[in-house]
């Protein structure tokens, strides 16, 4: 980050972002798909991995493979160093003051379930409310439904407008002293909407509610500062931010994490076990039962290093410019209906093409080497809101270019040809 990072610069003066250099860091981008160069527009589903991440997981197995926290030998020391090193990097990435507030999880879904079952289950009572939004991914709905059923709490849902933005007045109206937990996405995976979470968190706090932010889609794009946001929990997945699958982070406010009961029992999460009474380890280890995905966490650390090595403001300006270009180009295609036109969005272009079901469009695009996601994007309520069964979703990352968008547009014309 440059010292002037908080001053928005006009786009024409945006610092140069060397997308060719970035692309060269991702070996898979030179892959051929059905004999065509890969055009990867599915990063919201999972991102591709730079060589440094691939190397870091490989290096772990070659030079450091051992269990963590448990042995006195050198390899275990190395493994523990890598694992705890990634925790510190994650703390830095989120600007968390204390690495002990960083729980390493299996990913976003795991983090939300942890908070729902550990925090939610111990505080919620009949009559309490959990407030969600219509934009949420199923991962930020179902864990709350489970805990609501267990505790007798009720779920309330903030509606969205036709642009795909959370209705701010309805949000305030739905907040009440009964609201114990607000769980909301930072960025919508289905539509790309950036929610005004800082204001939403402050409003929730004014009613005494605790806020979990699902940052799965924000992490690869936005600079995140959990202290500035003042959120209580922030969850994300490594695999959406250029790291390996199977790992991620739950940031939690220290006092909350300390007061929460363990989520799962097992090795590493205890400090003393007898059959009469077991003493739990301190945070974050209390929440990390069993041998984790050490190689994945090592790769995750490399992914954070990679992201932090970029001028993130310039990277975001690049992505925004490509999204703007994509929106304009795709909109020109006859029969296109764009779904989700929030004033603040990032990384996602969801749309429909008249006459072609998204799934058919996906197959035709795939034959041309273009990877998009088609379907409901694990956000069925969003589809229901717009009365559509599915969309075609092109999602962007730092390595995408205008040429990728040109290929997409050519591909969509081919779709129109087939289904004319």
């Amino acid at each position: 980050m440059t010292p002037t990072a908080h001053v928005p610069r006009p786009r024409s003066h945006a610092p140069a972002f060397d997308v060719a250099k970035v692309r060269a860091d991702f070996p898979i981008l030179s892959e051929l798909v059905h004999g065509k160069p890969l055009v990867y527009l599915d990063s919201a589903n999972t991102s591709q991995k730079p060589l440094s991440v691939i190397r870091a997981t490989d290096d772990y197995y070659r030079h450091a493979n051992a269990n963590i926290h448990r042995a006195t030998h050198l390899l275990s020391e190395r493994a523990t160093g890598l694992y705890e090193g990634s925790r510190k990097k994650a703390a830095k990435f989120l600007n968390a003051a204390d690495p002990h507030t960083i729980v390493l999880t299996k990913g976003t879904t795991d983090g939300i379930n942890l908070v729902a079952q550990s925090y939610g289950r111990s505080v919620l009572k009949p009559g309490d409310e959990i407030l969600l939004s219509w934009l949420e991914h199923h991962s930020n709905i179902v864990p709350w439904q489970l805990v609501a059923e267990q505790t007798g709490a009720a779920i309330k849902v903030v509606p969205i407008n036709d642009l795909g933005e959370i209705d701010p007045e309805e949000y305030v109206r739905l907040l009440s002293p009964r609201t114990k937990i607000v769980a909301v996405g930072h960025v919508s995976n289905a539509l790309g909407t950036i929610n005004p979470i800082k204001a939403m968190i402050a409003q929730a706090h004014a009613h005494g509610a605790v806020v979990l932010v699902d940052g799965a889609q924000a992490a690869p794009h936005l600079v995140i500062d959990v202290q500035d946001l003042d959120c209580d929990f922030y969850v994300l997945s490594s695999h959406k931010m250029f790291g390996p699958t199977g790992t991620g982070v739950l940031y939690g406010r220290k006092q909350l994490l300390e007061a929460m009961p363990p989520y799962q029992g097992g090795g590493d999460m205890i400090s003393n076990v007898t059959f009469e009474k077991t003493l739990y380890n301190q945070i974050p280890y209390k929440f990390e039962a069993g041998t984790p995905n050490i190689a994945g966490v090592a790769g995750f650390g490399a992914a954070i290093d990679y992201l932090m090595s970029l001028d993130r403001e310039a990277a975001l300006a690049h992505e925004d410019a490509v999204l703007e270009y994509a929106t304009a180009r795709v909109r020109e295609i006859p029969g296109v209906r764009i779904i989700g036109e929030a004033r603040h969005k990032t990384g996602v272009l969801s749309f429909l093409l008249e006459g072609a079901h998204p799934h058919d469009a996906g197959t035709v695009l795939d034959q041309q080497g273009i990877a998009v996601r088609t379907g409901q994007h694990c956000a069925q309520p969003v589809m229901d809101k717009f009365c559509i069964p599915a969309t075609i979703r092109a999602s962007l990352a730092i390595y995408n270019t205008r040429e990728d968008i040109d290929a997409l547009v050519r591909g969509l014309h081919k779709v129109r040809e087939v289904f004319a």
Partner: protein, 157 residues
């Protein structure tokens, strides 16, 4: 694009545009929902059974070209067949769309236009949704009649 033409044969595109039997049967003796959560395809299948014979078959719903054309051709194919014959046809159809590309399969007449699906593993569920739904509908026609509204939809997941 030859593979693409294998998948989207003219017959399939035609049935997608103008599906046969795309209607409700008010007095259906079996009614069954089918749902593919992967792509959001949804259909409701209606059957009129006379003893063991499928007298009429129709469907409603929304879905991709493959699933819609498959429902269209399936309802055409099972009309006039016995439940046992319809089940057998599903077995043959399923074998055709899941066989190794290049291996011979039974000649299923018009249904053979779906042979190209086997080159596209992600689309097998689209082609088989209507058939799975038919199988569920004939398995419990009387219960489907009574509990059709509350029956759990058939899912291909």
């Amino acid at each position: 694009m030859t593979e693409l033409n294998d998948l989207y044969q003219e017959v399939i595109l035609d049935h997608n545009r103008r599906p046969h039997n795309f209607r409700v049967i008010d007095a259906a003796s079996a009614k069954q929902e089918g749902y593919n959560p992967l792509c959001g395809d949804r259909l409701t299948l209606y059957l009129t059974l006379d003893g063991n014979v499928i007298k009429d078959a129709a469907f409603q719903g929304s879905g991709c070209a493959i699933s819609k054309a498959s429902a269209s051709l399936m309802t055409d194919a099972v009309k006039g067949k016995s439940v046992t014959e319809a089940r057998q046809l599903f077995e043959q159809f399923h074998a055709m769309i899941t066989s190794e590309p290049g291996t011979p399969s039974d000649d299923l007449g018009k249904l053979s236009v779906f042979a190209g699906v086997r080159e596209f593993p992600t689309r097998i569920k689209c082609a088989s949704l209507a058939w799975h739904t038919m199988k569920a509908a004939v398995a419990h026609p009387s219960t489907a009649l009574r509990a059709s509204e509350t029956d759990a939809p058939v899912s291909t997941e």
